[in-house]
């Protein structure tokens, strides 16, 4: 089993060179539950598969990208710097739902990484274009 590809041997046929559009939808706050952290772990593994990957952040999921996360007091690892490493994995399509951002008093300037702020309608269109949507 290979670490980088999460248990899949790259020599074996896993899709005959197929490139699919994968979207990871992040809906939950970064702390309080483990969804955000474990979603990020899937995304990092997925990057090894040369697929067309994008991330969407909606509802409390927008907090995952907020600058200035301090987690010492809750004794949980602050994993937010990892979002800044995504571009090293060629993951550059990050979509943030405009309404979710506004409803939480956040703007693009409050976020750790460059994103595309999109309307719910635009996000729906993007989802429509995907082959695989994983929701966390």
């Amino acid at each position: 089993m290979t670490e980088a590809t999460g248990g899949v041997e790259r020599d074996q046929e896993y899709g005959s060179g197929t490139i699919k559009k994968f979207m990871y939808v992040n809906r939950k706050a970064p702390y309080g539950t483990i969804y955000a952290l474990e979603s990020l772990e899937v995304v990092l593994i997925a990057a090894a598969f040369d697929q067309d990957v994008s991330l969407a952040f909606i509802d409390d999921g927008v907090f995952q990208l907020a600058k200035g996360q301090h987690t010492k007091a809750i004794d949980v690892k602050n994993f937010s710097p990892t979002y800044r490493a995504l571009e090293d994995y060629d993951i550059e399509k990050l979509y943030v739902d405009k309404e979710s951002l506004e409803a939480r008093g956040l703007t693009e300037d409050d976020l750790l990484v460059p994103v595309q702020v999109v309307s719910a309608e635009e996000l729906a269109d993007l989802m429509e274009q995907q082959d695989v949507v994983l929701s966390f």
Partner: protein, 119 residues
Amino acid sequence: MKIGIMVNEGPYQHEASDSAYLFAKAALEKGHKIHRVFFYHDGVNNANKLTEPPQDDRHIVNRWSDLAKEHGIDLVVCVAAALRRGVKDELLAPGFRISGLGQVVESGIQSDRLVVFGD
């Protein structure tokens, strides 16, 4: 149609595993193929063979094992999520195996649909 399934919640606490099971069963009855069920987050607890619900309740773990045996379904438990929660090889019910996250990505690539059950 070739279908992959992802289960993201533990048994009993949440209906996701029940829904995934019932969906899998219905899909198989319609002639579709389920090639893999991937268990992630607290979903890894669906593989715990020590699970012992009251006798008048459904046995979620055994139900997955039976379905896998009958239809040759690959039940994969995510290693990272499992280790975090103390689920190891010696705890696995029949039909389950532990492997990496790549298995769910591969399932997304290889199947016509990947259906995610979670909160």
